[in-house]
C-alpha cells in the first residue's frame, strides 16, 4: 500500500469510524434500557411486593426499591409508638429525615425543661415536633437527637469529603449513649438506644463485642421489628468479620425474610459470604426458613433455571417469594426464548425488530433447551395451580396461561384462561392482556370484523396507561409504564407486522402512528420514517387517498386520530417516484409542495471527479435548484434523448444528475433523510430498483458512456469515460477476499481505453494523480508487457 492509498484508506476508515459513533450517539448513546430490552407482557408488579429489587433485568444489579422501604417502616413504627391520632406520618418523616440538629436540639431541650418555648412556625405546625416537645415525651425527643448525632459518624453524605479517623468520636458517642440509656424506662426507646450502641460498636470494628452485645440486648427479645432486624444484621456482619460466614449468611437470610426494606442489604451481604443455600440449611429451624434461603440465593442468577423454584415450592408451597421467583423465570423466558422467536418471525417478512439476546440470534438447535425449560415451567405451574397451596393462586393461574402463550400453545393458553376466571383486579388486567394476545395471535387475517373487536381492546389498554412526562421516554421501570410498553409491543411487534405481511401498508403505517404516539419507540420504524423512507409511491398514494377519504370505520378513525398530522404526503410521494427515477410522475406531486419545503441543491448538475465535498453555494453555483426544478429539467433532458442525434452534453447532464442524487453524490439528501457512512453496494441491492440505482449507479454509468460516445472532444470523452469508470467501480460486489476485491477495482472496464487512448489528455493527467486504482492498473499493465 503506497502512502496515498494509506491516506485514502485512513480517511475512509475514519469516516466509517466516526460515522459509527454518530450513529450510536444518535441512538441514545448506544446504551440499552435495562427496563426495556426484550418483549414483555408479564408484569412483575402484579404480585411480589417487597421483592422489587429482584424483579428480572440482567442489565442492572437491582430492579427497583423494595416496598415498603426502611424509612416508611421506621416512620410507621414511630407513629405506632406515639399512638396519637394528631401526629401525622408526613410530620414524623420530616422530623426524622429532614430536620437539622439545631431544630431537634431545641425541641429536646424544651421537652426536658418542661417549659413553653417559642418555636418557629414550621416547627409549631409539625404535629410530631409538638408531640416530642411535650415533657411527657422527653425520652423520645432526646433519643432522636442522639440518633441525629450518631448519623454523622455512620453515614457520609459526601464521599469526597475527608472524614478522618472517627473512632474517638464514636467512642465518645457510645459513652454518652450508655449514660442516656441508663435513665430510660420506656422499652421501645431503650431498644433504639441499644441499637445505636450496637452500631457504634460494630463500626469501631469491635466484632466480638458486637456479637456479645446483640446476644445480651436483643437475644431474648422476641420482637421482629425494623430495629431488631437492623441489629440482627449488625450481628451477622460481625460474624462475617469473625470468619463465621455460614452463621453470618443464615442471619442475613433471616433479615431478608423479615424486612423488605433491608432485603437488598441482606442479599448483598450474603453474596460476600461465598455460601450456597444448602450450606445454611443445617442452621434453619424449619422448611419455611429453608425456602426463604433458596429464594434469596436464586435471585443471584440471571439464567433460566427451574430448580430453585421447584425446591422452594417443595419446602414451603406458601412461601411469599414463590410468586416473584415465578415471574423472574417467565421474564427470563421472554428475554431468551420468546423475544428472539418474535424477532425471527418478523425477520422473515423483512422487518428487523432490533432485539437481540445472549444467544445472538434465535437458533432452533439452541432453542431446544429453552423449549424444554418452558415446558417444564408450564408443568410446574399447572401442578402448583392444581394443588392450590401457593399464596397467590389467581396469579399462578394466569401465569400458567401466559406460559402456554409464550410456548406458542394458543389452545392451551385459551383453555387455561377459560378454566381460570380470576377476581383480583390486578390479576384480571393480566388475564385480559393474555386473552388479547391469544386472540390476536389466532387471527390469520386482520379483517374488519376483528378490527372492531381490537378497537375495544386497544381502548381498554388506554385506560391502563401510565402518564409519560414530556422529558422522559426511557429508563422507566414497569411500575409506571408496564401497559404502555405492552401496548407498544402489541402494536409494533404483532399488529404492524401482521398488516405488513398481508400487504396492507396503509394500516401498517396507521398502526405505527398509534405506536409512535406512545413515545416509547416503534421498532423497526415509526410512521414518519415509514412514509418518508420506506413506502413506495403507489403505497403512499393509497395512504394519502385513505387519509382524505370520508368513509372510515371506528377502528380506522381511531388510528387516524393518532397519525402524525404534519407529514407532507405530496413531498413523500414525489420523492418516492424520484427514487425509482420516475421524474415525470414525481413532478405533479412536487409542484404541490411549497418551494421552501422541498429539498434543494446548488451543485446537482456539477459532475464529481471525487466523492468529496458538500452541496453548498459557491461562487460558480449560486442558484438553488429545488427537487421539482430538478425533475422538470430531467424530464426535459430525457425527452431530448428521444430525438436523434442527442448531444453529448445532454447525456452528460442526465448522468450527472443521476449520480449526484445517489448515495455517493453531494445531493444524496434529495432522496434520503440520512446517509449512514457504513452502507455500501452489496449484491442485495440488485433486488430493489431504488437501491440498485442509489448504491449501484448503473443508469448514470450508461449515460456517461453515451456522452463519451456522442462527443468528439477528446478531453470531454476522457472526462465522461472516467466518470463512467467511477460509476462502474460503485457496483463492484464486495468480496471477503480483499485481494480479489482490490483486483476487481483495478480491472475497471474503462481503464484500458483511458490509459491507451486518452493518456495525453489534461483530464487523464489530473485523475491519474488522484486515483490509485488507475495508477495500479497502469503499473500492472506495464509489468505484463
Amino acid at each position: 500500500m503506497n502512502y496515498k492509498k494509506f491516506i485514502a484508506f485512513s480517511i475512509s476508515f475514519l469516516a466509517v469510524f466516526f460515522g459509527n459513533i454518530i450513529y450510536i450517539l444518535s441512538c441514545g448513546g448506544g446504551e440499552i434500557d435495562p427496563y426495556d430490552y426484550y418483549i414483555s407482557y408479564f408484569n412483575a408488579y402484579t404480585k411480589g411486593q417487597g421483592y422489587e429489587p429482584f424483579y428480572f433485568t440482567s442489565l442492572s444489579n437491582y430492579y427497583d426499591n423494595a416496598t415498603p422501604d426502611e424509612a416508611t417502616v421506621n416512620v410507621q413504627d414511630w407513629r405506632n409508638y406515639a399512638d396519637d391520632k394528631s401526629v401525622s406520618i408526613d410530620d414524623i418523616y420530616r422530623y426524622i429525615y429532614q430536620y437539622d440538629r439545631e431544630q431537634m436540639a431545641q425541641i429536646a431541650d424544651c421537652s426536658a425543661k418542661g417549659q413553653t418555648c417559642a418555636f418557629a412556625d414550621s416547627v409549631r405546625s409539625n404535629s410530631f415536633a409538638m408531640y416530642l416537645a411535650n415533657p411527657k415525651h422527653t425520652d423520645a425527643a432526646r433519643y432522636l437527637l442522639f440518633a441525629k448525632d450518631c448519623e454523622k459518624v455512620v453515614y457520609n453524605p459526601d464521599p469526597w469529603s475527608d472524614r478522618g479517623n472517627l473512632t474517638p468520636e464514636m467512642t465518645a458517642l457510645y459513652d454518652q449513649g450508655k449514660g442516656l440509656l441508663a435513665g430510660v424506662k420506656d422499652k421501645d426507646i431503650a431498644q433504639r438506644y441499644k441499637f445505636q450502641l450496637l452500631r457504634l460498636t460494630h463500626y469501631r470494628k469491635l466484632y466480638k463485642e458486637t456479637v456479645e452485645a446483640f446476644d445480651k440486648d436483643f437475644g431474648k427479645a422476641g420482637s421482629n421489628n425494623l430495629i431488631y432486624n437492623k441489629a440482627l444484621a449488625l450481628k451477622a456482619g460481625a460474624l462475617y468479620h469473625l470468619d463465621d460466614s455460614v452463621n453470618a449468611a443464615y442471619l442475613f437470610s433471616k433479615v431478608f425474610a423479615a424486612e423488605p426494606g433491608l432485603r437488598e442489604m441482606a442479599f448483598l451481604n450474603v453474596r460476600w459470604t461465598n455460601t450456597a443455600a444448602t450450606d445454611i440449611f443445617a442452621l434453619c429451624r424449619n422448611n419455611k426458613e429453608k425456602a426463604n434461603a433458596v429464594a434469596l440465593y436464586s435471585f443471584q442468577s440471571p439464567f433460566v433455571d427451574l430448580t430453585p423454584l421447584r425446591m422452594a415450592y417443595q419446602l414451603d408451597p406458601a412461601a411469599p417469594a414463590l410468586s416473584p421467583m415465578l415471574t423472574r423465570e417467565i421474564n427470563k423466558l421472554e428475554s431468551e426464548f420468546f423475544t428472539p422467536r418474535v424477532a425471527k418471525a418478523a425477520d422473515s417478512i423483512g422487518l428487523d425488530l432490533g432485539y437481540y439476546s445472549y444467544m445472538d440470534y434465535y437458533d432452533e438447535t439452541k432453542g431446544i433447551n429453552y423449549r424444554d425449560s418452558a415446558l417444564a415451567l408450564q408443568r410446574f405451574a399447572d401442578e402448583a395451580v392444581q394443588k392450590g397451596k401457593v399464596q397467590d393462586l389467581d396469579f399462578w393461574k394466569v401465569s400458567a396461561a401466559y406460559i402456554a402463550f409464550i410456548r406458542k400453545d394458543l389452545s392451551g393458553a385459551k383453555s387455561r384462561l377459560e378454566k381460570y376466571p380470576v377476581q383480583d383486579p390486578a390479576i384480571k388486567d393480566q388475564w385480559e392482556l393474555v386473552n388479547l394476545l391469544v386472540t390476536l395471535n389466532e387471527q390469520k387475517q386482520l379483517d374488519q370484523a376483528y378490527e372492531a373487536k381490537l378497537l375495544g381492546s386497544l381502548k381498554w389498554m388506554e385506560t391502563k396507561l401510565g402518564k409519560l412526562n414530556q422529558d422522559e421516554y426511557w429508563y422507566n421501570s414497569d411500575k409506571k409504564l408496564f401497559f404502555n410498553k405492552a401496548m407498544r409491543n402489541i402494536l409494533a411487534t404483532i399488529i404492524a407486522p401482521a398488516y405488513h405481511k398481508q400487504g396492507d401498508y396503509t394500516k401498517e403505517a396507521l398502526v405505527r402512528g398509534r405506536c409512535d404516539s406512545l413515545r416509547l419507540g416503534t421498532s423497526p420504524y415509526g410512521a414518519e420514517d415509514m412514509v418518508e423512507n420506506q413506502m413506495s409511491a403507489e403505497q403512499l398514494i393509497a395512504l394519502h387517498t385513505f387519509l382524505k377519504s370520508e368513509n372510515k370505520t371506528a377502528y380506522e378513525k381511531y388510528l387516524v386520530s393518532h397519525f402524525p398530522k404534519d407529514l407532507n404526503m405530496e413531498l413523500a410521494i414525489g420523492i418516492a417516484y424520484m427514487r425509482v427515477s420516475n421524474f415525470t410522475a414525481a413532478l405533479p406531486w412536487l409542484k404541490k409542495v411549497p418551494t421552501a419545503a422541498q429539498p434543494a441543491s446548488y451543485q446537482i448538475w456539477v459532475d464529481q471527479l471525487q466523492d468529496f465535498g458538500e452541496d453548498t453555494a459557491t461562487a460558480k453555483h449560486r442558484t438553488l435548484i429545488t427537487a421539482s426544478q430538478f425533475c422538470e429539467e430531467m424530464v426535459r433532458l430525457l425527452g431530448l434523448t428521444k430525438k436523434k442525434p442527442v448531444s453529448a452534453a445532454v447525456y452528460h447532464k442526465i448522468a450527472t444528475g443521476l449520480f449526484n442524487i445517489s448515495y455517493y453524490g453531494k445531493t444524496w439528501f434529495m432522496l434520503k433523510e440520512f446517509r449512514p457512512s457504513t452502507l455500501w453496494y452489496t449484491a442485495k441491492c440488485e433486488k430493489d430498483p431504488f437501491e440498485r440505482q442509489y448504491f449501484g449507479v448503473y443508469d448514470a454509468e450508461i449515460f456517461y458512456t453515451k456522452a463519451a460516445q456522442a462527443s468528439t472532444d477528446k478531453e470531454f470523452k476522457a472526462r465522461c469515460l472516467f466518470l463512467a469508470a467511477r460509476c462502474a467501480q460503485k457496483h463492484v460486489p464486495d468480496n471477503e477476499d480483499d485481494k480479489l476485491y482490490y483486483l476487481s477495482l483495478v480491472r475497471n472496464r474503462y481503464f484500458p481505453v483511458l490509459a491507451s487512448n486518452y493518456n495525453q489528455t489534461a483530464l487523464y493527467r489530473k485523475v491519474y494523480d488522484q486515483c490509485s486504482y488507475l495508477q495500479d492498473y497502469v503499473i500492472e499493465s506495464r509489468k505484463k508487457k
Binding site: P159, W160, R163, G164, N165, T167, D243, S245, V246, N274
Partner: protein
C-alpha cells in the same frame, strides 16, 4: 594509515556507552486502609531503610447506583505515621471510571474532587512536604484519552505545582507502547507483578513469572521507554480458588500451613491443590474437587526478576518499591535479602 587507525579508535570509543552509575533508592508501598503502627512494619520501614513510603490514599470506583466516580477505602492513620517519613500519596482509579467522564465539565469536576480530597488527606502526613504523587490506573487503549487528559488537568491544579507526578505502568503497557500510549507524567512506575492471567485455571504463577516477564520487556523495552521508570516488586503470596475450572476468588488466609494438610488437600503439579471433601476452613467453604493454586514470590524468584530487569538500564536511578508493607507476609522476606535485591539495580 595513521588516519585510518585514528578513525577506528575514535569509532571504538564512540560506540562504547559509558556505564551508568546508578543509586537505586528502596521504598515500600502501603496498600492497606489503616496504618496501625505494626512493629514489624515499622522495623522494615526503618531498617530497609525506606527512602519513601508510597501510601494508597483512596480508590476511585463508579458508584453502584449513579455510576459516578466515588472514593472508597480512604486511608486512615489509627496511630501517627513515623515522623519525618517521606510519603508519596497514591490514588488508585478503576479503569471503568473513565467511561462516565465524557465531557470536559465532568472531567473538571472529577479533577477538582480528587485534588481536594488528596490535599485534605495529605495534611496529616509526616515529612516536610509532599514532593511526588502517584496515580495508579490500568488504562486501556480506549480509556487512554480521558485518563491522559485527566493527568494533564491534574498538573494544572495549584496543589500539584512543583510536585512530581508519577503513574503506574503495567507490563502490557510497556510491550504495546504504541497502542497503549505513554502517560503525560514526569515518571513511570513499572509494576513487575500480576503479569499472568489470575482467572485462568492451571498450574502457573500469575504474580511473577520470568518467562512471561521476558516476553513483556523484551531486550530493550524498559531502556527505551520514554519516561524514567521506577520498579515495583511483589512481596506477596496468595491462594486462588477454582471450582470446576472457573475462577472463584482469592483466599487470603489459606497458605502453606493449611495446604500442607494432606487430609484436606491433594497436591498436584507444581502449585495446585485439590480439595478432598467439602471443608469449612478459615471462614471459606471449599467444595470437593475444587482446585487451589498457591502463588508465591520467594526471594530467589525476586532476585532472578531483579537481575533480568537490571539488564535494561535507563540513565536514571530508579526507586525500587516493594509491594507491600504488610506484617503478614514480610516474615517471608528477610530484611537483608530485600536490601540485596534493590542493590541489584545499581
Amino acid at each position: 594509515m595513521r588516519l585510518f587507525l585514528l578513525i577506528c579508535i575514535t569509532l571504538l570509543f564512540a560506540s562504547c556507552h559509558p556505564a551508568v552509575e546508578r543509586h537505586p533508592e528502596p521504598a515500600f508501598y502501603f496498600w492497606k486502609q489503616s496504618w496501625t503502627g505494626n512493629p514489624v512494619e515499622l522495623q522494615y520501614l526503618r531498617q530497609l531503610p525506606a527512602q519513601k513510603l508510597y501510601i494508597k490514599m483512596f480508590d476511585v470506583t463508579p458508584d453502584a447506583v449513579s455510576g459516578k466516580p466515588i472514593p472508597v477505602a480512604v486511608f486512615n492513620q489509627q496511630v501517627p505515621l513515623p515522623a519525618e517519613q517521606p510519603v508519596v500519596p497514591v490514588v488508585f482509579i478503576m479503569n471503568e471510571v473513565w467511561a462516565q467522564l465524557k465531557d470536559s465539565l465532568a472531567m473538571a469536576d472529577f479533577t477538582g474532587k480528587t485534588t481536594r480530597l488528596l490535599e485534605s488527606l495529605t495534611k496529616t502526613l509526616p515529612g516536610k512536604s509532599i514532593s511526588e504523587i502517584q496515580i495508579d490506573c490500568d488504562w486501556t487503549q480506549t480509556s487512554s484519552s480521558p485518563y491522559f487528559n485527566y493527568l494533564t488537568k491534574l498538573k494544572e491544579q495549584p496543589f500539584f505545582k512543583g510536585k512530581t507526578i508519577s503513574a503506574t505502568i503495567r507490563m502490557h503497557q510497556v510491550k504495546y507502547r504504541t497502542s497503549s500510549g505513554t502517560p503525560p507524567v514526569d515518571k513511570g512506575l513499572l509494576m513487575c507483578y500480576n503479569m499472568g492471567d489470575l482467572r485462568k485455571a492451571g498450574d502457573h504463577n500469575s504474580i511473577l513469572d520470568l518467562e512471561t516477564m521476558k516476553a513483556y520487556i523484551g531486550s530493550d523495552r524498559i531502556s527505551n521507554y520514554p519516561l524514567p521508570l521506577d520498579i515495583a516488586l511483589p512481596l506477596f503470596n496468595w491462594t486462588v480458588l477454582f471450582e470446576q475450572g472457573q475462577y472463584k476468588g482469592i483466599l487470603r488466609n489459606i497458605g502453606e500451613t493449611e495446604l500442607s494438610n494432606h487430609e484436606l488437600f491433594i497436591p498436584q503439579g507444581k502449585q495446585l491443590f485439590v480439595v478432598k471433601n467439602d471443608t469449612l476452613i478459615n471462614g471459606y467453604l471449599l467444595r470437593k474437587g475444587s482446585e487451589l493454586r498457591r502463588e508465591i514470590t520467594n526471594v530467589k524468584l525476586l532476585k532472578s526478576a531483579a537481575n533480568l530487569l537490571a539488564e535494561q538500564k535507563q540513565d536514571y536511578s530508579p526507586t525500587i518499591i516493594f509491594y507491600h508493607l504488610d506484617a503478614a507476609t514480610l516474615k517471608n522476606y528477610p530484611l537483608h535479602e530485600l536490601q540485596e535485591i534493590y542493590r541489584l539495580f545499581n
